[in-house]
């Protein structure tokens, strides 16, 4: 499997080079090439995941190594999907290196046998794990878009027109894309949490066990619920929404990485 993952990694790296080339030269040919490689990497990794799923019946998220690779895949997937609609070309220059870096980090970790208790061999894990990863990837993307928004907003406010001003998409496009990311992430996270609770009830007989990952996931969910509510109710948009999206991503990174590394709670027993 590793050969295919290394192939995917090479494709992501080449994609990143293309995206950066476009950013620096402003030539869309660079972007086309970068995007083609990036999509190639995504397809390659998708095939790896499917063959794993078909072979073992598990989504490959049993170890930190697998989880990281899976996270890279989810991010690439969400970006590719949103790109179909929004075509914010400069974003690739942020997404491709992150996907590549995450996958590379995964490949550097030693291969260890995944803890695969039979209770994970259930359709529920699929409907719990996949939405949570996709949702988190969408939130991460929202944060990247938010960062781009802050840079561009500052350039316009301070009347400093330079590199970013010329290359970055319009503020409104970034704002709408960030909102779309948050809505997408929220929907997936909600599905993931609900299926998680239902599954916990059926497996352990209780909805909620106070596991740190559960707690922080709920915190994340509440945070984004607040963001969406404020936007719909009083029109929190632009800078404030961008900042909140960045905070949310920080919480997610902590939930994902921090808790995985600290090996806490029952999520820790199959993510370490």
């Amino acid at each position: 499997m590793d050969y295919y993952l290394i192939l995917a990694l090479a494709a992501y790296v080449t994609g990143a080079v293309g995206f950066f080339g476009h950013l620096l030269a402003g030539n869309t040919a660079w972007h086309r090439i970068g995007h083609a490689f990036f999509l190639g990497g995504l397809v390659c990794q998708t095939l790896v995941i499917f063959s794993e799923l078909a072979g073992t019946g598990f989504l490959p998220v049993g170890t930190l190594r697998d989880s990281l690779a899976f996270a890279a895949w989810a991010l690439a997937l969400v970006y590719a999907a949103l790109d179909l609609r929004y075509r914010v070309m400069v974003l690739g220059a942020a997404v491709a290196p992150i996907a590549a870096g995450t996958l590379m980090a995964a490949l550097f970790l030693p291969v260890e046998p995944a803890a695969r208790p039979d209770l994970l061999k259930s359709a529920w894990t699929f409907f719990h794990v996949l939405p949570v990863f996709v949702g988190d990837a969408a939130f991460l993307l929202a944060a990247l878009v938010g960062a781009a928004y802050l840079v561009q907003e500052r350039a316009i406010k301070k009347k400093r027109r330079g590199f970013s001003f010329n290359r970055m998409p319009p503020l409104d496009t970034l704002d709408r894309l960030g909102y779309a990311c948050v809505v997408l992430g929220f929907a997936f996270l909600t599905v993931g949490l609900v299926s998680g609770f239902v599954y916990a009830k059926s497996a352990w007989g209780r909805w909620w066990s106070g596991d740190p990952k559960e707690v922080w996931s709920l915190v994340t969910w509440l945070l984004y619920a607040a963001l969406l509510h404020e936007r719909l109710a009083v029109g929190w948009r632009g800078r404030r929404a961008a900042l909140l999206a960045i905070c949310g991503a920080a919480v997610i990174l902590f939930t994902f990485l921090g808790l995985n590394l600290l090996l806490l709670g029952h999520h820790g027993q199959f993510a370490g």
Partner: protein
Amino acid sequence: MELLLIGLNHRTAPLALRERLAFSDDEAAFALDALRREEALAEAVLFSTCNRVEVLAAAEDAAAAESAVLSVLCRVKGVRRADFEGALYRHAGDEACRHVFRVAASLDSLVVGEPQILGQVKKSYRAAVAAGASGVVVNRLLHRAFSTAKRVRKETGIGGHAVSVSYAAVELAKKIFGELSGKKVLLVGAGEMAELAVEHLMHNRAERLFVVNRTLARAVALASRFGGEAVAFEGIEAALKIVDIVISSTGASDFVIRRDQVKAVMRPRRNRPLFFIDIAVPRDIDPAVNNLENVYLYDVDDLAAVVEQNKAERAKEAARAEIIVEESVMAFRRWFDALDAVPTIKAIRERMEAVRAAEMEKSRGALKDLSPEEVEAVERLTRSILAKLLHGPTVFLKKGAHGRARKRDIIGAARDMFSLDEEEGNGNGE
């Protein structure tokens, strides 16, 4: 045959002189007809825009051609040569070619990179073709000029940035809102620059215009010009709740729009972004509104700074464009040099010999049973068929007894017929 360009432009002639020499469409047609009749000129095309009057000609004798061109200009426009002699520039050969390419690519324009000039050059070209004044050389040169201009536009950022204050405002609005369709504009006051900005915005599909003026009649007049709506001066605050772009240009000595007013409308607006363009001096809009979230304010100095930066940007891109022009000049030179009977005949022979050799090669299998002598006989046979076939065209081209101007046309046609200039690419496509 020589290329020659004579003319004057915004750098050499003041507006008053350019006005006197500018050709209307009818005058241009008349002048082209006169140029066609001139014995000294083989081909000619006349460019006349508000910034230039130029004649590009192909002729055997440059000095005779020059005086022919000038006498036509004087005759048609009723001016004396002494009136504009001092403003004239003359370019010959590659220089003339380079000049036309630069003009078409908007490198010689008052505002470098402005897009209208290419259309004007094309129009001049069509008029020359219609009048029968142009010919194979000038046509070819202009087609090259069009493709060069297209390449310059595509490969450099020469037309990329706004270089007028009113257009810079539109560019900024696009950086904030993306698409301007569906956006509403409020114009406070009046003034040329503000109205120009409004025109650009409406042209970019802004949805609706509201006009506020101390004199309601003026507001109504302006609003009707753009199909907008006049609003009483007291209605500014209500208007701020619904519009997205505000252009202010009043003669008021005090702020017309204050920070607290804007702050108050942001909540009912649900924080939708609001873009203020303050063209007035003294300023109409409290600079502090720029510190409000989702509010952006640019005043006249900010816009002027944008324009300055963009101009510098264009100058950089122009340097890259010059390289593209230089490539085109060299390509045209190669074609021009080949546009003579001897090189054309040579090229046709080479092309045909290549076809013959290739066909021989293909038939090698079928001829494998022949003895070397027999193969040699087939070779000779095919060669002599070729020589017989090419004899007529060769004599025809060599004689050149068709009048000087027609000779170029015939050679040009021959080159096209045998596709000798294929590598030049898109020579015929506009």
